[in-house]
Structure formats: structure tokens, C-alpha cells
């Protein structure tokens, strides 16, 4: 793999960065939060991003996409991460879209992929359950096969962009027991399905997340995404892709936090000099800079490993998620410390990054989870 952007990628990176800069300053995300906006993102901005083609990047040309790869995808999420743009890229494109693209029947793909890529419909995936931590095979939600389809019962938590979604894809156990890899099936449930209640939850990073309660929800067999009992593998695969995209976002976030810290060090005066002239702070900044650079390398490598279907791609993915989790937290902690009292105020934007760093760490497995997975993949 070559860890360098080609011409097209450089152009894409530039375009996305400028769009986000012009259309999504952090003040936009703050306003959504202060307004207690139920959607938590802007349908309008999302539609513009779709019109620019970014939602299409990863889908095949057959499905109406651009047939590009993760190397391009992480450029989009990085730019979004820089300004904490809350649009449903990871939920709708990486999770739901990819699940349908890779596992959906022709009918499901025709019905849902076109509006997803067009930015007209938003779908979410509910896989997380309260108290089940990071192992997606731990599922309390059940799906029982009946005469005409399945009946689902259970509850999902923190379903990202689940509130207001046009449909939610949920994981449910069709056979086996808690912790089994087999016996999990993915079901697509349109928003008006009887028995499904979607409640907005409020999280520290102000993302749209929702509780999805399922009470005797009937789902036709045609709405199974992927194969019955084999949804665990599909979900894992899709989450791996989404993890790389999230790492891109985290890279953008930590870069921005670092840049803000550095700018503050050059401007804030104490004891008659800028604080950036204190050697202890300089050394800490230099170390944080190294963390950003290392993170950039592992994100690029993970994206390319996926694109090349590298035999060690899982190792690259866990390397990226572990490193980005630790680095994003370390950098935002340092930044808040260096911003001093100002960093503790809600008025200063740096705090948003510190909150997002935690939420991102705990999405798709935290640093420890991925270090454990790394060791297991290495065979020790």
C-alpha cells in the first residue's frame, strides 16, 4: 500500500474541507444542541453533501455509487470530524447503507439505496443494548419466526441517528444463545411499523441517539438483510468499515483540537510571555503532535488495507481504533488543560471535542477492546 494521496484524493480532501469550513462551523452544532433540535443534524446540509457525491463514494456503480473506497471515505469523515459536523454519515452510509449494499436483496437495494445515496432518506442501525458493552454478539432482542415473517421484541440503546430515521435495521437473535456468533439476523424495520417506539436520547456529545423499543413488531421475511442466522458476520463486517470511517472522524477531531491548542499557546499571554514559550508546554505539544501524525498514518493504512482486502486488515483496523481512541482523548485532555479555565467553559469550543472524544472511543469498541482484539489476532 502507498500511504500518500493521489491527485483525485487530494482534490476531494480539499473540496470536503472547504465545504465543511464554509457550511458547518462548530457554531452550527452548538446551535442544534442549544435548540434541543430533535434531529441533531440538518437535512439540508445532508442533502448538499449527497449532491456533492460524498454519500455515493463507497457504493458500487451498479447500485448508483462511485465505486471508490475507504481511502476516499476517510477524507470525508476527517473533514466532518474537524468541525464536529453531525450529519448521519457513519450511521446511514457506513452502517445501514453498507449492510443493505452487501447483504440486501435486490428489492431492498432498489428500494433503499437510491434514496440513501441521494440523501433523501436516512436509515440507522440498532445493534447496541444497554449493559452489553462492546460485544455485538450479546443480544437480548429476539426474533421469532411465525406464519408471515418474524415477531421482534427487545430494546436497543444509543442508536445513532435513530430518531427520525426512515427505517432502522436491528440485530436480533433468531437462534442460539447470548454470545454466539451464529443465530443473529438483521431486520429492516420502517419507521411506521406497529410496536416500534423510537425515543430520542440526550448524550454528552449531543449526537442524535435513540432508544428503539420493539414490542411484538412484525417484520416480513423480505426485510431480512443478509441471511437468516448469519447477520452477525455481516454486522461485524459493516462495523469494521464504519470503524475505519469513525477513525477518520477522530483524526479530524484530534487534528482540530491540536490546532486550536497550538493557536492558543501562541496567543495566550501569562507572566508577560505567550504560554507557548514555556518549555514544559512545548514538550507536551510536541508529543501531542506526534500522536496526531501517528494517528494519520494508521488511519490511512487501515483504509487502504480494507480497500486492498489485505490479509491483516483486521489488525490494521484495531490498530487504528486503539490509537485514535487513546490519542483523541489524550489530545483533548491536554488541550483543555492548556486552555486553562477557559477550556472548562461551555462557551469555548474545545470542550465539545473532549466530549466527542469519549463518545467516539466508546463506539465500536473502546481502546482496550481493540488492544485485546489485536492481541487475539496476533495469536497471543
Amino acid at each position: 500500500m502507498e500511504l500518500v494521496l493521489n491527485e483525485e484524493q487530494t482534490m476531494l480532501a480539499q473540496t470536503v474541507k472547504e465545504f465543511i469550513k464554509d457550511n458547518s462551523p462548530v457554531t452550527r452544532m452548538r446551535k442544534l444542541r442549544d435548540d434541543r433540535d430533535m434531529l441533531g443534524y440538518s437535512k439540508d446540509v445532508w442533502k448538499q453533501m449527497a449532491d456533492l457525491g460524498w454519500t455515493a463514494i463507497l457504493f458500487s456503480e451498479e447500485d448508483g455509487g462511485l465505486g471508490l473506497g475507504m481511502a476516499e471515505t476517510v477524507l470525508v469523515t476527517e473533514a466532518m470530524g474537524r468541525n464536529l459536523a453531525p450529519e448521519p454519515f457513519i450511521s446511514c452510509i457506513m452502517l445501514a447503507g453498507q449492510a443493505i449494499a452487501q447483504g440486501g436483496s435486490k428489492e431492498l437495494r432498489e428500494e433503499w439505496l437510491t434514496p440513501i445515496i441521494a440523501g433523501d432518506k436516512v436509515l440507522a442501525v440498532g445493534y447496541q443494548e444497554k449493559g452489553k458493552r462492546y460485544d455485538i454478539r450479546n443480544i437480548g432482542t429476539s426474533a421469532v419466526k411465525g406464519a408471515d415473517g418474524y415477531v421482534l421484541n427487545g430494546e436497543k440503546t444509543q442508536v445513532v441517528d435513530g430518531y427520525g430515521a426512515d427505517a432502522v435495521i436491528v440485530s436480533a437473535r433468531t437462534s442460539g444463545k447470548d454470545g454466539d456468533a451464529d443465530g443473529i439476523t438483521l431486520f429492516l424495520i420502517p419507521k411506521d411499523a406497529a410496536g416500534m417506539t423510537v425515543t430520542r436520547q440526550w448524550r454528552l456529545d449531543s449526537k442524535n441517539v435513540a432508544q428503539v423499543q420493539l414490542k411484538d413488531v412484525k417484520v416480513p421475511a423480505a426485510n431480512v438483510v443478509g441471511e437468516v442466522d448469519k447477520g452477525g458476520a455481516l454486522l461485524a463486517k459493516v462495523i469494521d468499515l464504519a470503524t475505519v470511517a469513525l477513525c477518520g472522524e477522530m483524526l479530524g477531531g484530534m487534528s482540530s483540537a491540536f490546532d486550536r491548542m497550538l493557536a492558543y499557546m501562541k496567543e495566550r499571554v501569562q507572566f508577560n510571555v505567550v504560554i507557548g514559550s514555556f518549555q514544559a508546554l512545548k514538550h507536551r505539544a510536541a508529543k501531542m503532535y506526534m500522536e496526531v501524525e501517528l494517528s494519520r498514518s494508521v488511519v490511512m493504512a487501515a483504509a487502504r488495507a480494507v480497500d486492498e482486502n489485505h490479509k491483516d486488515k483486521d489488525i490494521f483496523i484495531s490498530t487504528a481504533k486503539a490509537r485514535c481512541s487513546d490519542a483523541y482523548i489524550a489530545i483533548t485532555n491536554e488541550a483543555v488543560q492548556i486552555f486553562g479555565g477557559n477550556g472548562m467553559t461551555d462557551e469555548e469550543e474545545i470542550g465539545f471535542y473532549m466530549k466527542r472524544a469519549r463518545a467516539a472511543e466508546m463506539t465500536f469498541g473502546d481502546a482496550t477492546f481493540h488492544k485485546d482484539r489485536f492481541a487475539a489476532l496476533k495469536g497471543y
Partner: protein, 400 residues
């Protein structure tokens, strides 16, 4: 000896007869702390009578001199009183900066008139005090005081701003540093002043923090007239007072983060409880070994820290000079607390991401805020960087 036993008996019977039954057992209830003054809500209906009956005997600060309304108790008697309060698990009747900071400072620097005036008010909890040190462009550079004080007759006229004033909105009076002389070295032109916050021209605005709470305020002064007899120590002699007072503050912070329990005690441990709930044991060991090791490290750090606080106290009690300086406690205690809160997040996992409302338990929502709040620990009361500078210079003798 017999006298002491007699004293204990009288304290005990008085407490049993008079201390409000509703407050018994609330010794460790942080919500039972009463900060006094006119604006702070009562924690419990009986908090006010409890304060009043104790203040009458001077027992809100039992070892302060009787002439100013203190209890006048000696070391032994104070210990007995505390033991008897603990026996009924009664909360302290009064807490606050009056007791821990400005009171001792007035006793040290005040004129006889000032002592007679302010100390009884403090003891009775009549006014709640807040601190006016920090200013917006000062940060760690505390001597960079810009708030102007200009003499006009018997008054100073104040113009400028303070910030990071804890509970300024709930306080009655402020002790603050003002720039009384702009033409000398910055430390040499500062005066230490006491002022009523209800004076015309004072405006108090809470600061919203990342945790969502607003425990601090900005306090603006526009042509505020403060009588000149309300200065402490001499004109332009405020820096000396400020430093003495900071010493009192650090001791207080160390006590807060070090916890008041002695190191040997093993109270029910919230971290262990959370780990068992959110992660679970298998064969008597936490399933997540990484968390298990971080917990052991954190608890070892905590025990080491508490033992160091204790060692310092034991040294002082034994009449030796204190061992490690209080700056250690501030740096280590606050960073330890941050590590503890971060570990708690790792233990609780995704459920720790809640902000409010549905789908999160109250304890989970509380944790999020406590963690965010803990980030400020290494900034307030002298940042970790400042404390490390102090240790390097004052304890280790390293040059500037």
C-alpha cells in the same frame, strides 16, 4: 483528665438533648453541608437551628478564641467534641470560605476592630464569603491584577472584573485583590480588600461550564464604593495576605481530594461496586483484566496518596515540620481524581455517555458530570503547572 471526662459527658448529654434528630446519620452526606449566609438555600429544615445552637456556644469553630465568639476549646477538648459529633453522626453545622480561608486570614492580619466585627459573623454563619482573585487575562499569573481601586475620600472606587468566583451568586461578601498602585512592580501594588456584594455597581453573572453546571461566576465592578477601613493589612500589602490565604486554600483542597477518611479505613468502594455491576466477576476476578489492572493501580495510587497526607499530618501533630509540601497534595490529588473519573468511565462503558433524560440511570448521568467537572481540578486553585513550578523552586531549590 477528670475534667476532660466531665467535658465529654456534658457535651454528650447536651448533644443528645438538643442536636436535631433529623440530622443524625448525615455526617457523610455531602448535601448536608451548610455554607451559611443570606442567599444559600438551607440543605435541611433543621440546618439553621443546628447552626444557631452550635454558634451560640462558639462550636462552629470550636478552637477559635472565645473573645471573638469562638469555642475557645483546646486541642483535647476539640477532639472530644468531634468524637461526640461523630458518635451521633452529625454533620458539621457550618462550612465555607469564612472558616477555611478568610477567617484565619483576618485572625492573622486583621486589626482588633476587624476581628471584633467579622469573626463573630463568620462563626455565626451570617455571611457567606467568596474569593476575588482571578481575572480574565490573568490565568495562572495571579499577581496580574487589573481591577482598579482609586482613593476617593474615605472610600475606594472599584472598576474592573473578577472571574472564576466560586458561588459568587450565593455569596454575601467577597475578599479580593485590587490594583491600588499601577506604578510599581506588580506584586507591590496590590491591596487586599473586603467588600459587600450588595453594593450598587456590582453585577454577578454565572459561568456555564462544560459539565453544564455553573458553580463559578464573573463579578463586574463599576464605580463601586468600598470604605477604606475594609482593607486587610496595609495599603499595597495585599500580595502577602493573598499568599498566606492561598496556603489555607491548598490545605483545604488537599483535604477535599485526599478524602477525610483515614487511609486505613475501608469504606464501601463505589469503583469496586461499579466494576462488579458493569463488568462482573468470573472466578472472583473481574472479567476485563485491563480494567482490573487499572483499578489496582488507581487504588494503589490512592492509598499511597492518602498515606502521604496522613504522614504529613502525623508529622505536624508530632511537632516536626511538615514533610512534603501541600503543593504535592494539590497536584497529585487532583490528577489522581481525574484518573479515577476516567477509569470510572471505562468501567461503566457506553452507559457513561448520557447527558440527561431517557435511557440512562441517574448514577450514570451523575458520573458524566462528575468526570467533566474533574477536568477543572488541575486548573483551579493554582494549576498543576504552577504547582510543579512551586515544587521545583521552593521544595527542590531549582533556579528560575
Amino acid at each position: 483528665m477528670a475534667d476532660l471526662e466531665e467535658f465529654r459527658a456534658s457535651v454528650r448529654s447536651w448533644l443528645e438533648a438538643n442536636a436535631p434528630k433529623s440530622l443524625r446519620g448525615k455526617m457523610r452526606d455531602p448535601a448536608a453541608a451548610f455554607w451559611g449566609g443570606k442567599k444559600t438555600p438551607l440543605p435541611y429544615p433543621d440546618s439553621r437551628p443546628w447552626l444557631d445552637m452550635m454558634a451560640e456556644r462558639g462550636w462552629t469553630i470550636p478552637f477559635w478564641p472565645k473573645e471573638y465568639g469562638g469555642g475557645g476549646l483546646d486541642k483535647e477538648e476539640t477532639k472530644i467534641l468531634n468524637e461526640e459529633l461523630a458518635r451521633l453522626e452529625l454533620p458539621p453545622p457550618l462550612t465555607g470560605f469564612g472558616i477555611t480561608m478568610i477567617g484565619p486570614t483576618i485572625l492573622q492580619y486583621g486589626t482588633e476592630e476587624q476581628k471584633k466585627l467579622y469573626i463573630p459573623q463568620i462563626i455565626k454563619g451570617e455571611i457567606r464569603w467568596c474569593q476575588g482573585y482571578s481575572e480574565p487575562n490573568a490565568g495562572s499569573d495571579l499577581a496580574n491584577v487589573q481591577l482598579k481601586a482609586v482613593v476617593d475620600g474615605d472610600d475606594y472606587i472599584l472598576n474592573g472584573q473578577k472571574t472564576w468566583t466560586s458561588f459568587g451568586d450565593l455569596s454575601d461578601w467577597m475578599f479580593l485583590l485590587v490594583r491600588s498602585n499601577p506604578d510599581v512592580k506588580k506584586q507591590a501594588g496590590i491591596t487586599f480588600l473586603l467588600t459587600d456584594l450588595d453594593l450598587p455597581g456590582v453585577e454577578i453573572r454565572p459561568i456555564k461550564l462544560i459539565s453544564g453546571a455553573s458553580p463559578f461566576c464573573e463579578v463586574f465592578f463599576e464605580d463601586v464604593r468600598v470604605p477604606r477601613h475594609q482593607i486587610l493589612n496595609r495599603v499595597d500589602g495585599g500580595w502577602e495576605v493573598a499568599r498566606a490565604l492561598l496556603g489555607h486554600e491548598r490545605t483545604m483542597i488537599a483535604n477535599t481530594f485526599g478524602g477525610r477518611q483515614s487511609a486505613a479505613e475501608s469504606p464501601e468502594n463505589p469503583m469496586e461496586a461499579a466494576a462488579k455491576k458493569y463488568i462482573g466477576l468470573k472466578d472472583g476476578k473481574l472479567v476485563d483484566d485491563a480494567v482490573r489492572q487499572r483499578m489496582a493501580q488507581n487504588q494503589i495510587d490512592e492509598q499511597s496518596f492518602l498515606l502521604t497526607v496522613q504522614r504529613n499530618g502525623d508529622n505536624v501533630k508530632a511537632g516536626h515540620r511538615p514533610g512534603p509540601e501541600t503543593s504535592i497534595f494539590k497536584v497529585y490529588g487532583t490528577e489522581l481524581n481525574q484518573r479515577r473519573q476516567e477509569l470510572m468511565l471505562s468501567i461503566v462503558g457506553p452507559e457513561s455517555l448520557g447527558w440527561e433524560g431517557d435511557g440512562f440511570e441517574k448514577s450514570e448521568l451523575d458520573l458524566t458530570r462528575v468526570w467533566l467537572r474533574s477536568r477543572g481540578n488541575t486548573l483551579e486553585g493554582g494549576s498543576s503547572e504552577i504547582q510543579l513550578n512551586i515544587i521545583a523552586k521552593q521544595v527542590l531549590g531549582l533556579p528560575d
